[in-house]
C-alpha cells in the first residue's frame, strides 16, 4: 500500500527542498513508515544510476559556432525598434518584482521569511513575465485610448498622461495581478529605454518619493490621492524623479 507522504513530502525531503520544520515532520513519519524508507533508498539508487550513466549531453562545438556567428551579424536594435506591443509589455512584466518588493514593504511584511518570500515572488513574477500570450495590454500613445482600456480592467481610476513633450513618451498600458490585487502598469519610453509605472490603490496618506535600486534598476515610489505609484527603469534616477514630478503635478 502506498503511503500519502510518498507522493509529496518524500520527494522534497529527498531533494533537500523541505524547510527545517517540514523535514523534521517527515523524519518523524519516516521512523515508523517502512514504505517511505524503502522508497527513499530506491530514489537514491535511481539517482546514482542516472549519474553513472552520464545522460547529460553537452552542446557540440559545431552548435556553439553556429550560435556565435549570427550574434555578430544581428543588430539587436532591430528587435527593439519593432513596434510590437508585447515587447514593451514583456519588459514591463520583467520589472514587476520590484513593484512586488515595494508592495511588501508597503504592507509591512518584514518577518524572518521575508527574503524567502521575496525570492518566491521574484520567481513568480519572472514566470509570468516569460509566458508568451500572458502580456495582455494595449499599445497606444493616446491617453484616452489607454485610459479607456484600463477602465474597468484595473477596478480603479488610473490617471493616464502622455509626457512626450517632456521626453517621456507614453507607449501603452496593461493590468497585472499581484497577490490578488489588480495593478495597473503604464509604459513610458525615455531615450529608447522603457519605464514602467505600477499603480495600485492604497488607503495610506500621500507620501514624498522614496528611491532605491535593485540590481541594475532604480525605482521611485510615492503615494498621492489614495494611489501608490512606483516607477521602475534602468534610466537615470533623475529621469525617474522628473517623471514623478510630471505625474504628481498632473494628477
Amino acid at each position: 500500500m502506498r503511503c500519502d507522504f510518498a507522493h509529496s513530502l518524500l520527494q522534497g525531503y529527498f531533494d533537500g527542498e523541505l524547510s527545517g520544520r517540514r523535514a523534521a515532520e517527515f523524519e518523524r513519519h519516516l521512523r515508523h513508515c517502512a514504505h517511505c524508507a524503502t522508497e527513499l533508498v530506491d530514489l537514491d539508487l535511481l539517482r546514482d544510476r542516472l549519474q553513472l550513466a552520464q545522460l547529460y549531453e553537452p552542446a557540440t562545438a559545431a552548435l556553439r559556432r553556429k550560435i556565435n556567428a549570427p550574434l555578430h551579424a544581428i543588430a539587436p536594435t532591430t528587435a527593439v525598434l519593432r513596434p510590437l506591443v508585447w515587447h514593451w509589455l514583456a519588459a514591463a512584466a520583467a520589472l514587476l518584482f520590484v513593484a512586488t518588493l515595494l508592495w511588501r514593504v508597503g504592507h509591512g511584511l518584514r518577518g524572518d521569511d521575508y527574503q524567502a518570500e521575496l525570492a518566491g515572488e521574484i520567481v513568480d513574477a519572472h514566470v509570468r513575465s516569460l509566458q508568451p500570450g500572458q502580456m495582455n495590454g494595449i499599445s497606444s500613445n493616446d491617453e484616452r485610448v489607454v485610459a479607456g482600456w484600463l477602465e474597468g480592467r484595473a477596478r480603479f481610476a488610473v490617471p493616464v498622461r502622455n509626457f512626450t513633450n517632456d521626453g517621456f513618451a507614453l507607449q501603452g498600458g496593461r493590468v497585472d495581478v499581484i497577490e490578488g490585487h489588480a495593478v495597473a502598469v503604464l509604459v513610458y519610453e525615455r531615450n529608447g529605454r522603457p519605464i514602467n509605472v505600477f499603480i495600485w490603490p492604497t488607503r495610506e496618506r500621500d507620501s514624498p518619493p522614496r528611491t532605491g535600486s535593485w540590481q541594475s534598476f532604480r525605482w521611485v515610489d510615492w503615494r498621492k490621492g489614495k494611489k501608490e505609484f512606483c516607477a521602475v527603469s534602468d534610466v537615470d534616477l533623475a529621469d525617474l524623479e522628473h517623471l514623478h514630478q510630471l505625474i504628481n503635478s498632473s494628477a
Binding site: 542516472l50 545522460l55 549531453e57 544581428i74 520583467a94 514566470v127
Partner: protein
C-alpha cells in the same frame, strides 16, 4: 554599432552563453533527437538574443531554458503533434522493448535509461531532465516549466515513478 549594442552583446555572452550546454541537453531530451535539438537550440538562442532586453537580471539559466522549452514545444506541435498527447503506456513500452533490435541496443545501462526516458511523456521527461541532469531547484523548475511550485513535488513523484516502472519493464522485456 554603438556602445549600447556592444554592451548588450557582452552581457548576453556573459550571462546566457554559459548555458548553451543546458539548452542543448534539454532540447535533446525533449525532442529525442540530436539533430533536431541542434536546430531548435540554435533557434532558441537566437530568439533569446533578440529579446534579451526583455531580460533584466535574475536567473539567466532558467530564463534561457524556458525559451528553449517553449521553442521545443512549438516545434513539436508543428512537426510531431502526436507526441504532445503522448501518455505513458506500459503495454506499448513492453512491446517496444521486446523486439530483438531494441533488446540488442538495451545492452548497456545508458541505453536502457535513455530508452526509458524517451518512453515518458514530454512533461515528465522535462522535469526529470531539469532535476536529475540539470540539478535545478524546485523554484527553477517551476519557473522554467510554468507549473506552480506546489505541484513540482507531485509531478516529480509521478515522473520518477514512471521512469522506475519503464526501467522495470525494460528489464522484464530483456529477459529471455
Amino acid at each position: 554599432m554603438n556602445d549600447f549594442d556592444a554592451e548588450d552583446r557582452l552581457r548576453f555572452e556573459q550571462l546566457v552563453l554559459p548555458h548553451v550546454d543546458a539548452a542543448f541537453n534539454l532540447a535533446r531530451w525533449l525532442l529525442r533527437s540530436r539533430a533536431d535539438a541542434e536546430d531548435v537550440a540554435q533557434e532558441a538562442l537566437l530568439r533569446s538574443y533578440r529579446f534579451f532586453r526583455g531580460f533584466h537580471g535574475g536567473d539567466a539559466r532558467a530564463w534561457l531554458l524556458q525559451i528553449v522549452r517553449n521553442t521545443c514545444y512549438t516545434w513539436l506541435e508543428k512537426n510531431r503533434p502526436m507526441e504532445l498527447n503522448m501518455e505513458f503506456d506500459e503495454e506499448l513500452h513492453l512491446q517496444t522493448c521486446a523486439t530483438p533490435e531494441t533488446l540488442a541496443i538495451a545492452g548497456d545501462d545508458r541505453k536502457r535509461l535513455t530508452m526509458a526516458f524517451e518512453t515518458l511523456p514530454p512533461r515528465f521527461r522535462e522535469i526529470l531532465v531539469l532535476r536529475e541532469l540539470e540539478g535545478c531547484s524546485y523554484k527553477e523548475i517551476a519557473a522554467i516549466t510554468a507549473i506552480p511550485i506546489g505541484t513540482v513535488m507531485s509531478s516529480l513523484s509521478r515522473a520518477r515513478r514512471q521512469l522506475h516502472s519503464a526501467l522495470v519493464n525494460s528489464l522484464q522485456g530483456a529477459r529471455p
